[in-house]
């Protein structure tokens, strides 16, 4: 068998591939060389398709395999339906359908009609390692080769588990990033050192607009000094104060543009479970009352069956317009606006403008 140093090198390559899947080809090729196989690969079942990380197999062999032979590859089929972790040999598996089309027309001409094969994972979509070699008078599965492959199997399995785990973490990170980006408010996650750990899409836009808020030296700051002092205190309070309500602290942040000020809330998050109950993160939610997206007319029409004219009136009411302004804007009489509004009340089950505004605003995202 190989020396400890050689083995260590093979295993390091395998475990490295768990974090950098692009390295699999190199890791498998090293294993292929160590056992003296002609071609090798990792076959990964993915739904109805098969992904092959193959090494040292001629391109034309791979092309014809993908186009035709993969469907009659009885060797791989036997490996994938067989026991997990067991080293299977060419002499055992190739013989299952010796001289069949796959054997005679593909494996033999490409000198892959012997070898060792191991199914590495369980489940309906298994991953297997293939180390193929030409059939010679002496069987490929010598005790040394089998021992080496047997010793590598747990490492291959472990690396695949690690890879799976990383993928799971990365996937859920991507999911959460997008979900947080879909929120209309600015959301900023602040870490223990006071630095911004994450900004959602809306918060990035607000900070870039520089209309009263920005990120400086990694921290969220209000541009006006007195407001900034209140903001930093609110964040600090959210980190440290015991028995704080759901709101750590709230600040109104005026904007140089003269638009309605931002409303900012700092909320403690990820609190320690033992006293002192210190938050490890603070979530800052920034609301831009100007940008409170109003739901489009079509949505109101679909949800409550409003007519186009009724939806138009409802949207304008929610925006804060008065009836006579709406009448002017739409060039209709105030009586008509009132009539539309009455229908809107009836269809939405509301009785007053304030109630209607409240209902419509809950449609915001």
């Amino acid at each position: 068998m190989v020396t400890i140093d050689d083995f260590s090198r093979l295993v390091a390559g395998i475990h490295r591939s768990a974090l950098c899947p692009d390295d699999w080809a190199q890791a498998i090729d090293d294993v292929r060389c160590a056992v003296g196989a002609t071609g090798g690969g990792l076959s990964i079942a993915e739904g109805n398709t098969l992904r092959l990380i193959n090494v040292n197999v001629p391109d034309e062999a791979m092309a014809s395999y993908g186009a035709h032979y993969q469907h009659i590859d009885y060797v791989l089929a036997a490996v994938e339906t067989g026991p997990v972790g067991t080293v299977r040999t060419g002499s055992e598996l190739v013989a299952l359908e010796a001289d069949s089309e796959f054997d005679a027309d593909w494996m033999r001409p490409y000198e892959m009609d012997d070898g060792v094969f191991v199914r590495l994972t369980d489940g309906a979509l298994p991953t297997s390692i293939i180390l193929a070699a030409p059939k010679r008078s002496r069987r490929f599965d010598t005790p040394e080769r089998s021992a080496l492959v047997t010793a590598l199997v747990p490492h291959l399995q472990q690396a695949l588990r690690t890879q799976q785990h990383v993928r799971g973490l990365v996937d859920s990170r991507d999911d959460l990033v997008q979900a947080v980006d879909a929120v209309a408010h600015g959301i900023v996650v602040i870490g223990l050192n006071g630095h911004v750990a994450h900004l959602n899409y809306a918060a990035k836009r607000m900070c870039c607009a520089g209309d009263g808020l920005r990120v400086r030296d990694g921290s969220l700051r209000a541009t006006r000094g007195s407001v900034d002092a209140r903001l930093q205190r609110a964040v600090d309070d959210a980190f440290t104060r015991d028995g704080l309500g759901p709101w750590g602290g709230s600040v109104v942040c005026p904007r140089p543009s003269g638009l309605r000020p931002y409303v900012i809330h700092a909320v403690p998050a990820d609190r320690t479970t033992d006293p002192p109950f210190r938050a490890r993160r603070v979530i800052v939610a920034i609301i831009d009352p100007e940008a409170e997206a109003e739901p489009p007319g079509p949505l109101l029409r679909r949800i409550w069956g409003l007519t186009a004219a009724e939806a138009d009136v409802a949207v304008r009411i929610a925006r804060g317009s008065e009836l006579h302004t709406i009448a002017d804007e739409l060039s209709v009489s105030i009586a008509t606006v009132r009539k539309h509004l009455q229908h809107v009340f009836d269809k939405t089950g509301t009785r007053r403008q304030a109630e209607l505004v409240r209902l419509i605003l809950t449609l915001r995202l």
């Binding site: 190989v2 020396t3 400890i4 140093d5 260590s8 295993v11 475990h15 974090l19 010793a151 747990p154 490492h155 472990q158 690396a159 588990r161 690690t162 785990h165 990383v166 990365v170 859920s172 990170r173 999911d175 959460l176 997008q178 979900a179 947080v180 879909a182 929120v183 408010h185 959301i187 996650v189 750990a197 994450h198 759901p246 709101w247 709230s250 109104v252 409303v263 998050a269 990820d270 993160r281 979530i283 939610a285 609301i287 409170e292 949505l299 949800i303 409550w304 804060g320 008065e322 009785r351 007053r352 403008q353 304030a354 505004v357 409240r358 209902l359 605003l361 809950t362 449609l363 995202l365």
Partner: protein, 361 residues
């Protein structure tokens, strides 16, 4: 020390990588390494994660080390300040601590020799320490040093892997907390319509089983018209039908008779059609804004009565109703409302409702 076979080495390496995935397994991994080297104990210091795993030292020894003696440990300091990946020996480093205060800590545990190696870069790198008692032959026999050297790249990679996992898990925790700050119920739904993530608002709503619930790990509307609409909106958002990548909004009636939930379904990750995701946002029009009265007083300087009137108006009550509820005349309610308008810079009730609702993310 007995000869190390490839099988022995393979077992040690497996244990090391296994610990990267499940850090509680470091103890047994270190015990195996200690046993193979015929030492008396070993420890892995991972300062960035504030972890100390040791194989054989009693708990009070670790505690005393972490709380006090680590500052006096000049062997660890020399290792952490030395070259990366080089195995250092007790012959070289132990004289640094002999007859120092640190030997008070070493003596009861019979630590007199060691092999140490710095694994990481940076100001406070991870280090491996394998300790041994005083013996006739030195601990730094070539076979031992060779084995530790062979383990170094694996320990390094395991520590890196563990750091990566901790980092990703931390980011995911942060993002999940960020969704907690949203008033709406937020549910992330996977390709098979199963719930992948939900915030605690969503959990509350779904647990209440008032028109929406989780059945067979999928989010389901329990009233007939809403059920079909929700399924269609999900299919559209997940790209399972012809109109790919579009979501939808719907009303979901409630058994309690409360105002229906407003449900928005949005497609997520348009750039990765192989793993579609949808975000379901559930707004409950019946839920009062959290602590709106407190916020109005705090942010706009309203009095208690003014804030009370403002909140009731934002819930849709008429002035006469409010007067009755608070047992005051309608003139008084009007007067409060005038003050509210003045202090919040609003002019009409609809304006005020917008402002109050905007207070709550």
């Amino acid at each position: 020390m007995k000869d190390v076979t490839v099988e022995d080495f393979s077992r040690l390496v497996s244990a090391v990588y296994g610990a990267a995935l499940e850090p509680w397994r470091w103890e047994s991994a270190l015990r195996e390494i200690t046993g193979e080297l015929d030492g008396s104990g070993s420890a892995l210091l991972i300062p960035d994660c504030v972890n100390w795993y040791n194989s054989t030292l009693p708990a009070e020894a670790s505690e005393a080390y972490q709380q006090y003696y680590h500052r006096l440990d000049r062997v660890a300091a020399a290792t952490a300040g030395g070259p990366v990946g080089v195995v250092r020996t007790g012959t070289e480093l132990m004289p640094l601590v002999r007859n120092s205060e640190f030997s008070d800590w070493l003596r009861p545990y019979d630590i007199d020799d060691a092999l140490v190696v710095r694994l990481g870069t940076g100001a406070s790198p991870a280090c491996l320490i394998v300790a041994a008692p005083k013996r006739a032959d030195a601990f730094d026999a070539p076979e031992r040093v060779g084995l530790v050297e062979a383990l170094v790249p694996h320990l390094q990679q395991a520590v890196r892997t563990q750091g990566l996992f901790a980092g990703l898990a931390g980011v995911n925790r942060d993002l999940a907390e960020a969704l907690e700050a949203v008033r709406h119920g937020c549910v992330i739904v996977g390709a098979d319509r199963s719930v992948v993530h939900l915030n605690s608002s969503a959990e509350r709503i779904l647990r209440a089983d008032d028109g929406l619930r989780i059945a067979f790990s999928a989010i389901t509307a329990t009233t007939t018209p809403a059920s079909g609409r929700l399924q269609r909106a999900l299919s559209a958002a997940l790209g399972l039908d012809a109109v790919a990548g579009r979501g939808g909004s719907l009303l979901c009636e409630r058994h309690s008779g409360n105002r229906p939930y407003l449900v928005h379904v949005l497609p997520l990750r348009r750039e990765k059609p192989s793993r579609p995701r949808a975000l379901v946002l559930i707004a409950d029009p019946a839920a009062a804004p959290r602590s709106a009265a407190v916020l109005l007083r705090h942010l706009y300087g309203l009095t208690e009565s003014e804030a009370d009137v403002a909140v009731r108006i934002s819930r849709g009550a008429a002035l006469a109703e409010i007067g009755e509820q608070l047992s005051v005349s309608i003139t008084t309610v009007r007067k409060h409302l005038q003050h509210v308008f003045g202090k919040t810079d609003t002019h009409r009730q609809a304006d005020l409702v917008r402002l109050v609702l905007a207070l709550d993310p």
